[in-house]
Symmetry: C2
Subunit: 787 residues, 2 copies
């Protein structure tokens, strides 16, 4: 066995590790007596024991070893820890290296600070038990597992000098998201990007069951990671001294390998994919914890998962075991009389921004620079007359994004993400500026594929989301386009990122980062060709459950409004923006200037589509979404023709949040303006892109709310024609027109006749599509006619 550590180095590193373990146990258990300068009593112990010991000593072990190599080689490194339950370990280490006290001077490096450190953990008004935005050096929420490795890769992209160490828990490794994350190496360019060092931490058990990867054979484990494209290095054992030497030697080896890979790629522009090293660290669960409690083996078993001693007040002897356990780290050797880590140990940590808790990449807002954006009006479609131009909204957005890629090529801080749908979503213009990235053999039949591409395509919404989160959290910008139905795959990842943003806003030392912007296209109304399984507009509802301070939802009705919205979103900070827009050729409504003005307010009257002039209308016809807008305008033309005396006001909503009361959302339109548009007593027929309930919810506090009648997706659909999709859900022009007449008292006498007219139209439509397999020409070729 190689022994790269001198005896003194070994002794000091082990002491540093003991200090981190000591403070971790202290955080879980203690509220006082942090240095055990008195005999431990129940009064020193927290009444509720909340925390996870099992994974923590392993995380601490890795930290102290990374500190050594950072210092020895002046590495620029951050630390992503998948087993986020090991929060106390990360807090302990950032405290020991000094970062924590710099950011939180009240938790100083003295006895008083130590007391605060242990007390605040999992304490009301204190800090949470998991790695979260509050923890210095973190970019990975320690809640729902599975996203560490994709965050690590996202951080490494376009950061050639950065090394991202990523501990993957063996429980976490069972999740789908993590299982496919290993393939991220096919997207990491050793010349242009930094490196990720995955450290699979096998400690044998989840909450109660054995983990899969800890129970398969060495040969299978080795084959699995070679199959994923890595060279696994095994660090296995439980004797600290042996493990320290083994880990140090292994780190020396893998870092040399990483350096060689990078040197090779950067000197000769290598395009082939290297076999990156990774480490398998197998150590006991709850390593250095109590070997046995109440006659049951504890260290190395599932009993160490959370708190190995849970009932200190109830079970005699447990308090003594805790005290022995804490004293086994010999705190008196670790901290000086003032309560400060002894200088010869403190000296082991890197300094300044090399400390993993202080590395600016883990507080990406510090590094963020604005994107250079072209003037989005330069990509606008000419619209001389509403509805006269036919255009594809996402195609225009693609041209804008192409030039965003071009303008920021030098700074290399913008990427486009999507599950193999960039071209399908008609954003193909981006390929004039860049390619899809892929590291591996290329064939003649490939198109737009390159090792230095900036479009990230992989058939995993999880990877797209996770890479993008990692990229944003380290201070860059991105754009995620996705089929609307499939974005639900990342519902829970969205949740966690939204919660992170929500918390990070209140962490004073966290700087704002670029927003996460989704373009949901190939949306519910144009998935008639893919069928019912692709038809679901519910992501908006999911998003709207989160805090108003972090979410934004836009439904631009045409290309120019989409351009305005995309431009706005790429400038925004600390939000999650959801944009829903179609890719199909559709009538265009607003000139660039009109679009800009409309999007700024978020909703407004379209006078050119209204016929009430300055009079109060009989009805307000409102729309949100491109297909609903077209159908609502078609309803207007039908109504104009059939019932010329009907006075209509047409309203379009781009920014859904404008519907809410200002007390509920900062974008909420004030009540006077809202009432002026929607009236206080006129029926509102609202054609909406998604599930109707959301519009009711958003307008709930508005005066005219009881008069809102919303048409939207009703979970009806199959493989059919585009217009038939609208008909099945009663969002089509005919159903909308009938709804208008049905709601206006003064036309009560004409309802029956009008309903018959509508039924005849729908019957004709039905006959036609069943016979011909496509929509009637007058539907397909419908055009708005200005009166």
């Amino acid at each position: 066995m190689k022994t790269p550590l001198t005896p003194d180095q070994l002794a000091r590193m082990d002491a540093y590790w003991r200090a981190a373990n000591y403070l971790s146990v202290g955080q879980i258990y203690l509220r006082d007596n942090p240095l055990l300068r008195e005999k431990l009593t129940l009064a020193h112990v927290k009444p509720r024991l909340l925390g996870h010991w099992g994974t923590t000593p392993g995380l601490n072990f890795v930290y102290v070893h990374l500190n050594r190599v950072i210092k020895a080689m002046d590495l620029n490194m951050i630390y992503v820890t998948g087993p986020g339950h090991g929060g106390p370990g990360l807090v302990a280490n950032t405290y020991l290296e000094g970062t924590y006290s710099e950011l939180h001077p009240e938790v100083g490096q003295d006895v008083e600070g130590l007391k605060r450190l242990v007390t605040q953990f999992s304490w009301p008004g204190g800090i949470p038990s998991h790695v979260a935005a509050e923890v210095p050096g973190s970019i990975n929420e320690g809640g729902e597992l599975g996203y560490s490795l994709m965050h690590a890769y996202g951080a490494a992209f376009d950061n050639p000098d950065l090394l991202v160490a990523c501990v993957v828990g063996d429980g976490e490794a069972e999740t789908g998201a993590l299982a496919t994350s290993w393939h991220s190496n096919k997207f990491l360019n050793p010349a242009r990007d930094g490196a990720v060092l995955p450290i699979l931490h096998l400690n044998g058990y989840k909450i109660a069951s054995p983990t899969i990867l800890s129970r398969i054979s060495h040969d299978e484990l080795d084959a699995l990671f070679r199959g994923y494209g890595y060279v696994p290095h095994f660090v296995e054992g439980d004797d600290p001294a042996t493990m320290h030497q083994l880990m140090a030697a292994t780190l020396d080896t893998v870092l040399a390998d990483i350096r060689a890979i990078q040197r090779d790629a950067r000197s000769r522009g290598a395009m082939d994919r290297p076999a990156w090293p990774m480490i398998v660290l197998r150590s006991p669960k709850g390593w250095t914890g109590p070997k046995e409690v109440d006659g049951n083996p504890t260290e190395g078993t599932w009993r160490s998962h959370q708190v190995p001693l849970a009932k200190l007040a109830e079970v005699p002897g447990h308090l003594d075991i805790l005290e022995d356990w804490l004293r086994s780290y010999r705190p008196e050797e670790l901290f000086d009389s003032a309560g400060r880590l002894k200088a010869e140990l403190a000296d082991l940590a890197p300094t300044g921004q090399r400390r993993m808790g202080a590395n600016p990449h883990a507080n990406g807002g510090q590094l963020l620079s604005d994107l250079r954006l072209p003037d989005y009006r330069d990509y606008a479609l000419e619209v001389t007359q509403p509805g006269a131009t036919i255009g594809e909204a996402t195609r225009a957005a693609g041209e804008f994004l192409r030039d965003v890629l071009r303008l920021n090529a030098d700074t290399a801080n913008f990427r486009v993400f999507g599950p193999d749908e960039t071209e399908s979503n008609r954003l193909g213009a981006v390929f004039e500026a860049t390619s899809r990235v892929f590291i591996g053999p290329q064939l003649e039949t490939d198109r737009q594929l390159a090792a230095d591409g900036r479009v990230m395509e992989v058939l995993s919404e999880h990877l797209c989301q996770g890479w993008l989160e990692g990229y944003l959290l380290t201070g860059r910008h991105g754009f995620f386009s996705c089929y609307e139905a499939f974005i639900h795959i990342v519902d829970s990842m969205f949740n966690q990122h939204a919660k992170w943003l929500n918390v990070a806003r209140d962490v004073p030392w966290r700087k704002p980062i670029a927003s996460l912007t989704y373009l949901l296209t190939s949306h519910v109304w144009r998935q008639d060709h893919n069928g019912f399984s692709h038809q679901d507009p519910g992501f908006i509802d999911h998003v709207m459950n989160k805090k108003a301070s972090v979410v934004r939802v836009y439904l631009p009705p045409d290309a120019n409004t989409l351009l305005s919205v995309v431009d706005h979103c790429l400038r925004s900070r600390d939000y999650i923006n959801v944009i829903v827009a179609g890719k199909q050729p559709s009538p265009q409504w607003l000139s660039p200037d009109a679009a800009a003005a409309h999007c700024t307010i978020g909703l407004g009257t379209w006078d050119w589509a209204s016929n009430c002039g300055a009079d109060e209308p009989d009805v307000v016809i409102a729309s949100a979404g491109d297909v609903p807008t077209m159908e609502a305008l078609a309803a207007v033309t039908i109504l104009r023709e059939q019932i010329p005396e009907l006075k209509m006001r047409f309203v379009n909503v781009v920014d859904l949040m404008a519907l809410q009361a200002p007390s509920q959302h900062p974008h909420g339109m004030d009540d006077a303006a809202f009432d002026a548009i929607f009236t206080t007593d006129t029926p509102v027929i609202f054609a909406y892109h998604g599930y109707p309930a959301l519009i009711h919810r958003l307008t709930y506090r508005r005066r005219n709310h009881d008069n809102f009648h919303v048409h939207g997706f009703q979970e009806e659909g199959t493989t059919t024609t585009p217009f038939d999709m609208a008909v099945l859900n009663e969002l089509d022009r005919f159903h909308l027109a009938r709804a208008v007449i049905d709601r206006i008292e003064r036309f009560a006498g004409r309802r029956t006749a009008f309903a018959q007219f509508v039924d005849a139209q729908l019957a004709e439509h039905d006959r036609y599509v069943r016979q011909n397999g496509e929509d009637m020409p007058e539907i397909r070729n419908w055009r708005w006619t200005q009166k």
Copy 2:
């Protein structure tokens, strides 16, 4: 090379494959002239070309080969196809084998039937383009990718004679869900369960990009699957005759291996995990399609993904290419003059239920038998007085489930699923009846782990959901318990299963299957110890967006109501049931009989907690969920004490759907009964488990709706105390009591004083928890006192 097929056999199998390919292309393109007995014209071609050719010939190739071995060895086999876009292939094959015409006599085996067959595909009023519930032999929706292999394993569990062939697409293989599915072999017991034969179909491209697994080296691919625990067999090439021999030889080998594994396990009760065989099938994308179109290579490239010829009317010559392509299959050799597959080819297919389209396992309702259920009242907690008993709801449910497991041990048709949380969710009693299943080495420190366990634990909600879906779809029963926050991981899987159930109800030959029942526990109000990242009650909202005909949501407030609900759910069919219930020790409210009566109606007045008698109340206090119910009852006690003249009615809601109008949901309470309970003009203070907007949405059509004031989760939380969680979200007794006084006009004069009282209480709470780290004893030990 082995050549197991005789020349005649080879010729006939190739012809059968050509027939399937021919009909697949026909479905995508044709609306008439199905046997090309006339020259092809545009009039014979569909106006909209919707379908995916790329994957289809590979699926057809596998089908014909599986037919051979089924017939030769009398195998009981079903076919799960991950690349669900290959719908035309599955329809073609079930048509060729006769199943399709038996189920749909209008699509007969003659020229007229052929015309219908090709026309109906992706046609309004016809069938969808993907594999869906309408396709015989299918259990895997061909929409969102990633779930085929977990469905296959779910089907194989407890079906020792069943062989599930599962084609995994190479695009699909990039998804997280699929990447972790390979590990399902650690949960498949060769003695007790059937076998899964995974066939990874590498055809090189997704929509536009190369797939990862098709571009890594042979060595990496081989290592990856060995690492996952399989023995990969490679079938690679593009020459049909060679590929037929290779596939046949490989299938003979792998089936012999599977038989040997099963024989070994069943004769000597092997506990070790075998290395199961799997096949890697590498064939060109769009195999047998046009080699080149407009000078661009097409077969074998991404250009074959959907329709290789998309503009037949526009581009001269394309119609000729299509005709040549269709004629290349030589239809005149395949079908007789009546339009029927020639007898010597038809003879290749298995017969009766051995046909994969007719296998009853793929229409599981045919095999479904009712669970034997104990009387749930036997597990009830004694409740002599509301609030007097303290109990853990999920613990009681665990005892009930234990005996469900026992009573159905012989029929082996019930399993419990959950991501390593069965014990944590206090369902641990099930381990008195069975164990967790794990196939592999066991250690002394393991507990409740066995190769024949019936509890499926893996740290992947995807796998739990997918296995359970596969298990249910093949006619068995199950129960899925999960932390509430993490169930969002399977939002999109839930969507797809709900859509499947919705469609399957209208497919006359699909028989009802057991419902998918979730128990969401460790819920938002008791994740104070795990923090903000674990706090999210939004799955209910997600579920409620689906059709009323398939979803049910229950919020039992205590153990006896939970038992009644679980019993009900396990008897139900074709639903998705969501039950939300806590695991913490809590006051119990209803006796077994009262619980049964309450759950039957779904919501009702609790007279013992009301003080208005027969009078009209000043306020209705309502609750849904266990913690909200406790807080609402505590508010009642505070109000009784502080404002004795206040007349309150207390209402509890178990079945959320009862709140809806009967027109919206079959469980909806009729308006008269609803108004009698909630009144038409009295304020209702509603304490709700989740996001408040849902209660407004459900009660939207009720007369008293504008008087509903809902308190629920407001996205506030962290690691704190349980009661502080309620306070942060204003769901606690004090905020509720204040809301009551604030809403009643006749107490307007007392609002200020009452608000001061409440503020003082909250301030005291705040001081106490920050000082002591736990809730005040009077909060922790609060008990309902009956007046």
